[in-house]
Amino acid sequence: MRNVRHFWIYFIMFAGILFLFISNDFGLVDVQRTAIITGLALDKEEGELLLTADLAVPSTSEKGENTSPVQVSAKAKTVAQALEKIGEKVGWAPKLVYCRVLLLGEELMKEDCFHYLDYFLRNEYFSDNCILLAAQGQAKDLLSVKTPVDNIVTLALLKIISGEAYSSGRCVSVVLKDFAIGYYGNTKSGFLPIVKAEEPVKKVLNTQSGANQGGGGEEKQEEQVFSVSTTALFFEGKKQGELNEEETFALSLLRTRLRNSAYQIETEKGDYCIDLKQNKGKVRFFIQDGVPRLQVNLTARASISDRTQVSSVKELTSSPIVPSEVKRAVEKKLENAYESLFEKCRKTNCDVYGVLDKLRRYENEYFDAYQKDVLRLTKPTFTVKVISSAR
């Protein structure tokens, strides 16, 4: 009979669950009633935050695309208010769980951007592994760009940041978490890739001989592509400067293992395009004779990808063997890039090399003495060693 009693207990529990199943709402928002936000653009306009959301609206189209992008903007003092206004406009519950890109507008970067970014750190339902990008101009304008890479702009940006450009060292990739660690840490520094839309690619569609179609014989759809080859430097949340393409590449060599790079080098014998691989960067900081010293060592294997001159058959087969003058030229160019990068760090106070952190971790007894102007006092040495991929 005990078993029968247990049976009734389980039956009542199941009936309760069934009731919940049929009757419950719990304020649930299923995927049909969700506005999937794939990216957000934050701009400053007239002293207020202008938040633009890139929404992927699910649809079934004949072309086979299953989403159509929509941009919706709202102005408010805080991010939370702006999101609420966006929700009112679209009529669906905006979900941030798929937000993979945050674009910061130029105006916004002039002040401490963590006034707004801390909303995303505070929100438990927002993932801080989203990519952070600095926009050239208004971030909102970038979201309305038409690009051939993907019909959703933020996905196109993600492809560029995490795809070829990243593995070739042309851009750096920074997530919100890393940017926040820099901001809240000792260095108060950070850097973000700068994204800009480049020259429009004109595409001609629906040409009909002799027919007038709404004011024109041809329809033109402007498509643009994104470039992320420069980097913005931040100190205390404000943009302080920029790294050019060379400096960005040099920084990438220290941070990531490249797969396909195409490094242009000019020599007396002509221009070469070098593929740098198996790069290993070491940044050492130490105090020697009371002087802070920064040692940046980079080794990489090189092979020739291309040349501006015609190559002989023998030269074609010995692509993995790079002539020594070319290697020296690459080393010199990169060392110069590191040097100019360091100078920019000094000027902007943006500690890209993590000098202050290293001072604290490895030379802690000197931390109090040097922490205020360690960048100015540090004497850097940059050593780049390029080895041929084969002998």
């Binding site: 529990m13 719990f26 304020g27 928002v29 519950a93 438990e124 993600l158 926040a180 604290r360 971790r361």
Partner: protein
């Protein structure tokens, strides 16, 4: 049959106990001790190791249970008092971890904040589990071990590439006073010796068992320390803000972008182990009460879980107050029940007065 084997005890301390320390403890320790969090955890774990060793040595000399020893020393009345006190202690010790689990559930399992009602089914499960005896704890440890090991190492594999272990430096900056204080304020998470106290008499005590359990606890401590190190290496200056560490550390791996949040699956697997672990203090509370009221497990289970449910409801919006009271002001209760009383048990009478 109310027995736990040595292997099950070993797996309990190595694979079940660490899970409770991987939810909110990393962020709390990071906030309170900074890069001294490892030292803080090591302090607490070392104290536990000493107490566990003492209890295991006691088990080698007698196969009496804790309450039998109490009865031999203080008589039946004393046994009744101890049963009641321990029953109350276990419920008390379970409340904050339950609230922690409730918040974890609301954050990790749902995209929008649901009502507290979604956590109520836990108490149905707990009421069922509390009717079982200590054998169930041992068997759940057997089952938890492979689940824990696979999930733990998978999460580590996803998180180690994103961490910078050098963030734990410099050791010079570690403030011993802050570390000691944070160690005291996190005793709630390092009070597993109270469980072993109640397991006394239900496992075979010998040198092999002692060695196995000590190694098990040491391995569990290593798991915890490694997790804390990786956690701090990933989050560094913002570590204090990262509640529910298991769902946070694995998401920075490049594969997550392609595959989606697969780290959640491992976190969910760990949460099964967490559920088994969370039930243990309530089960032991019922076990204590059976020494006072007899084997009315259903009624006692409903009573204990009813009280726990009430407490969770009461403190649902006052978890910070509860933390402050339980862990900061009344931390000595954990010292008393999990450390001092177990050590004092070494001096209890092993032979009956009669």
């Amino acid at each position: 049959m109310n027995k736990i084997s040595a292997r099950q005890l070993c797996l309990f301390f190595s694979c079940m106990a660490p899970v409770g320390k991987m939810i909110r403890l990393p962020s709390i320790l990071s906030e309170q001790a900074g890069n001294g969090l490892l030292l803080s955890a090591l302090f607490s774990a070392s104290l536990q190791l000493v107490v566990l060793f003492a209890l295991l040595k006691l088990s080698e000399r007698t196969n009496l249970s804790f309450f039998a020893l109490v009865e031999n020393t203080f008589g039946k009345v004393g046994k009744g008092i101890f049963s009641a006190l321990f029953a109350l202690y276990f419920v008390w010790a379970a409340i904050y971890p339950l609230l922690e689990q409730k918040s974890f559930v609301q954050s990790a399992f749902y995209d929008t904040i649901p009502a507290i009602i979604v956590f109520l089914p836990f108490f149905l499960f707990s009421a069922f589990a509390c009717m079982k005896n200590l054998t169930a704890i041992g068997r759940s440890a057997d089952l938890s071990a492979p689940v824990f090991l696979v999930s733990y190492f998978a999460l580590l594999a996803l998180s180690i590439p994103a961490g910078d272990i050098a963030a734990l430096l410099p050791f010079r900056e570690i403030s011993l006073s802050k570390t000691a204080l944070s160690s005291l304020h996190t005793l709630n998470w390092f009070s597993d010796s109270a469980y072993l106290l109640l397991f006394l008499g239900h496992f075979e005590g010998n040198k092999k068992t002692t060695a196995k359990v000590m190694i098990g606890y040491a391995v569990g401590t290593i798991f915890v320390l490694l997790f804390l190190a990786v956690f701090f290496g990933i989050f560094q200056s913002i570590a204090g803000r990262q509640n529910f560490a298991v769902t946070k550390i694995g998401k920075y791996h490049r594969a997550i972008g392609t595959m989606g949040r697969v780290d959640f699956l491992f976190a969910y697997a760990l949460s099964i182990v967490l559920i088994f672990y969370s039930v243990i203090p309530l089960l032991l509370s019922v076990e204590s009460l059976t020494h006072l009221f007899g084997e009315h497990r259903l009624a006692l289970s409903l009573a204990v879980n009813g009280v726990a449910l009430l407490m969770v409801f009461l403190f649902n919006y006052r978890s910070e107050l509860l933390y402050s009271v339980v862990n900061e002001k009344l931390f000595f209760l954990f010292l008393l029940f999990a450390d001092i009383i177990p050590l004092c048990t070494l001096f209890f009478r092993r032979k009956s007065r009669a």
